[in-house]
């Protein structure tokens, strides 16, 4: 049977499937569906210093094979999250990744410090790419200098491995990824959602109060796969591929494009046991294609 181990260098995961931030709650919500130990790791919903209510509804809109969201990172705040982390950690051995958010450098730092001292947290994922918080979808991941500055600051102040989550809404993703690598990132996760716009023709208004929203789901898979390929070719740190993955075949495509692991997103919302199905499908497809280990195909695209 195929070995699904995903090697990120600083950690070996039992398989490459990691439910993504914002699509997996705080993990505990899924215990009623399956054993979290089945996962490679999972990422908790993004957290700021303080409790946040999130954006004014409507917050989602279905699009062809996709989902536009403008949730706005509702959550309990970093201190509030510590209790939740401890509780979930007592129920699983799977590595817990926490998605770190900030409205300013100071806030990123404060959140990272709270989590840095928690033994239950295996890694941090620095969210410099959420499109739903600032006006016009602006975020640090849109600039080389902002990316470098924030990553360097957090890396200097945490002992935890640092994954940096990038935005696809840039003209040159490779330079942004390189700046994160130079600043000390241990891994890159791409992509966050694509900025999209939904309009209400009757009201002649945007559907979302925040104007732009983030597009996810199967609709973005080819776009994400292209970016993952570009980033994997640009940096030497591991890349975690994200974007519309719904099958084991999708997983192997992202690995072939150069990803060391992948994150599942919207599928967790649509199909609560989807990530487990994807793990099983990945194993079955590897067996069928006689792939013994992910390394055998990782980045081995023949062109």
């Amino acid at each position: 049977m195929a070995d699904l181990t995903a090697d990120l260098g600083f950690i070996k995961l039992k398989n490459p499937v990691i439910p993504a931030s914002g699509t997996f709650g705080y993990g505990g919500e899924f215990l009623q569906f399956f054993d979290l130990d089945l996962l490679g790791a999972f990422v908790m919903k993004g957290v700021y210093t303080d409790e946040r209510g999130g954006n004014e509804p409507p917050r989602i809109l279905e699009t062809p094979s996709g989902l536009l969201n403008s949730i706005g990172l509702a959550g309990p705040g970093a201190e509030g999250l510590t209790g939740i982390i401890k509780d979930v950690a007592s129920k699983t051995l799977t590595p817990i990744i926490v998605n770190v958010c900030g409205g300013s450098d100071d806030e990123y730092l404060e959140v990272a410090r709270v989590l840095d001292v928690m033994k239950e947290v295996a890694m941090l994922e620095l969210n410099i790419s959420c499109p739903n918080v600032r006006a016009g979808g602006r975020c640090p991941a849109q600039s080389v200098t902002d990316t470098k500055r924030v990553v360097k600051l957090i890396k200097k102040n945490t002992e935890k491995p640092l994954i940096v989550k990038l935005s696809p809404n840039v003209s040159d993703i490779s330079s942004i990824a390189l700046s994160a690598e130079e600043a000390g990132a241990d891994a890159i996760s791409v992509v966050n959602t694509f900025l999209g716009l939904a309009l209400d023709i009757e009201k002649r208004k945007p559907v979302f109060k925040n104007f732009f929203a983030g597009l996810s789901g199967p609709a973005i898979k080819p776009l994400a796969l292209k970016i993952v390929w570009e980033v994997a070719n640009a940096v030497s740190i591991p890349v975690i591929g994200i974007g519309g993955i719904t099958t084991g075949r999708d997983v192997l495509e992202f690995i072939l494009a150069g990803a060391a692991a992948i994150q599942t997103g919207t599928v967790n919302i649509v199909e609560p046991t989807g990530s487990v199905r994807i793990i099983n499908e990945t194993r079955e497809l590897m067996d069928k294609l006689k792939i013994n280990k992910l390394e055998e195909i990782r980045g081995c695209l023949e062109i």
Binding site: G22, P57, E62, P272
Partner: protein, 256 residues
């Protein structure tokens, strides 16, 4: 709650846009309580992507029933499901109406909102004194009136907006008198937002326990996507799917 493939045992049009689907699941039919809902995959593909929420109308293990109105793309696809097809279902989800004994309960249904209330009537009439107010746009939208009359109810009142078939009026038209007349101390309601708004205006300040079961466009149905939120009276957002769908009326911030 579970995610499982359920067999469609029947899917029939009752009247106009209104359908009843009978699904087979030992787990869901045995675990469901009045107010619970399920998320159903209306297509076997990625389009439409999201499952759709439906309140449970009644259970008869191993079967449970979904009463639905065809209003959009999702429910249109639901209506096309044939007997013998398998559909993915997540459930039972959400909280339920509280279980009371020996209370004078008033059930208030608007349109397809009768679904979880019918379930409540089946489960709770034996142990409580129940009265019913049920209204809809027209007689074509007011289903199950004959079936409802068979429950041992203290008082029943049916209304249509346009006066077709039944008394012209709204569920709130005579509600105050009905509450007083029957010594009501608990209400269970489900219907469109507009109905809740007028209910809140009419009886929100009564010294009785009012429970509302809200309807919302949902993403996941089990509390992880934070999409189906409503503003609470404390200013904080509440998730209809996992904090509800049943709330105390005073927990919600109403427009009026």
């Amino acid at each position: 709650m579970k995610e499982e493939e359920c067999r469609v045992s029947a899917n029939t049009v009752l009247q106009g846009r209104y359908y009843m689907m009978k699904l087979e699941s030992e787990y869901i039919s045995e675990k469901s309580e009045p107010g619970n809902f399920v998320m159903i995959a209306v297509s076997g593909s990625h389009d439409p992507l999201l499952k759709r929420p439906f309140g449970i109308f009644k259970t008869d293990p191993p079967y449970f029933y979904i009463y639905y109105e065809v209003v959009g793309r999702g429910s249109k696809l639901m209506a096309l499901k044939k007997e013998g097809e398998q559909v993915m279902v997540v459930g039972p989800l959400g909280n339920s109406f509280p279980k009371y004994e020996n209370e004078n309960i008033l059930i208030v249904g608007g349109g397809r909102g009768i679904a979880p209330l019918y379930f409540a009537l089946e489960k709770y009439t034996g142990s409580n004194n129940i009265s019913l107010i049920y209204g809809a746009r027209s007689k074509d939208d007011l289903l199950f009136t004959e079936k409802l009359k068979k429950f041992p109810l203290k008082e029943t009142a049916f209304y249509t907006d346009d006066g077709s078939g039944f008394t012209k009026g709204f569920v709130t038209s005579d509600i105050k008198q009905i509450i007083v007349r029957n010594g009501i101390n608990v209400t269970f309601s489900c219907g469109p937002d507009k109905m809740f708004e007028s209910l809140n205006k009419e009886i929100g300040n009564f010294n009785i326990r009012n429970f509302v079961s809200l309807e919302a466009f949902m993403g996941c149905g089990f509390g992880i996507c934070y999409s189906c939120v409503v503003k609470g009276s404390d200013g904080k957002y509440k998730k209809v799917c996992s904090d509800g769908p049943v709330f105390r009326m005073e927990e919600i911030k109403w427009q009026t």
